[in-house]
Symmetry: C2
Subunit: 223 residues, 2 copies
Amino acid sequence: MKIGILGSGVVGQVIGQKVAELGHDVMIGTRDPANLGEPRGWAPSLGAWLADTNGRGRVGTFAQAAAYGELLVNATNGLASLDALRQAGAQPLGNKVMLDLANELDVSRGMPPRSLATDDRSLAEEIQAAFPDVRVVKSLNTMNANVMVDPRALAGGDHTVFLSGNDAEAKAQVAELLRAFGWTDIFDLGDLGSARGVEMLLPLWLRVWGGLGNVPFNFKIVR
Amino acid sequence: MKIGILGSGVVGQVIGQKVAELGHDVMIGTRDPANLGEPRGWAPSLGAWLADTNGRGRVGTFAQAAAYGELLVNATNGLASLDALRQAGAQPLGNKVMLDLANELDVSRGMPPRSLATDDRSLAEEIQAAFPDVRVVKSLNTMNANVMVDPRALAGGDHTVFLSGNDAEAKAQVAELLRAFGWTDIFDLGDLGSARGVEMLLPLWLRVWGGLGNVPFNFKIVR
């Protein structure tokens, strides 16, 4: 499958490398695709990323990655996601399945960052409203990038990933990718309104992360 | 110990019965203490509750329960908590430790109820601001009442309860009560600002509850 990833930071790079390992072809879309040499925030340069993808990786603009992917991943900073998607354009986005794993964390008022999600709105729903044909599926936003792509490395994979979306077939496609990553406890929360719940988990996530001291962790629904 | 519980619904009654079983004396405070005969929402009448407490239970006004308790529990509906605490009055509340387990869930705009918690405010912080001498500890608001008081009945107790508060001694007192309930994984999130995180968990909780079909469950931090 061809996968288009919007966003060149840690999450985009880690997801991109994983899907390349799984045998998919992948393009990372970014604002500045010609810049292959500089680090991307906390992540290595895209040149280093390309070298790690065994020829399966490409770098392009947001529009090129959107056009390239049969399945899309929104791995941009949540505060900039709508802007990046508008740069990509409604035409290449089409009615594709988009795994949205972004969070809106505002660092402008100090630390810990403030989540903008409330029980009246979520980023996933705003993306869906702005691009009604895209089949948005929220998932993977409740853990760090290494846990996303290698859940078995933490407690043998005995923890939970959530799924929200309005299109059952799109959720099934994302669930298949999650199973390929190693996920076994994939919890379907329902329609995209339930993305509010997982986006609102970030303030708790950040406190747990601070309390544990930057070690891998995840939530599990014990039942 | 004498425990004062504000709120006569399911949560107040279940907590009250549990602390009576543990050998504490307990008073439930309510708006209408003379009404012992009628059910309390989904809970039995206070007359039935009294009969289950082996002589350790009492019923009084909010002010009487606040004056009675050496440790206080806010088990009122979160939308009415500040009003109930003002009825109790700052003088009987004093500088007591108050375990706040309330959630603000607005049902006026349909189901599922909307949580009012955001990353800019929490009920626990508003209670603390209104009664600066009270030592507010947020805990137990992320599960149903039966799980609160009998964690071992679910997966042998292998799941997590959170603790938020500004006073270390108050948190230690609440943690001691939690251990008496059977809790072993008691996760201290830090100051009372972290109550935003646990209050913001409710929208996800409600979706999981709906998905599982009203069976006992809880969150676990897998690390």
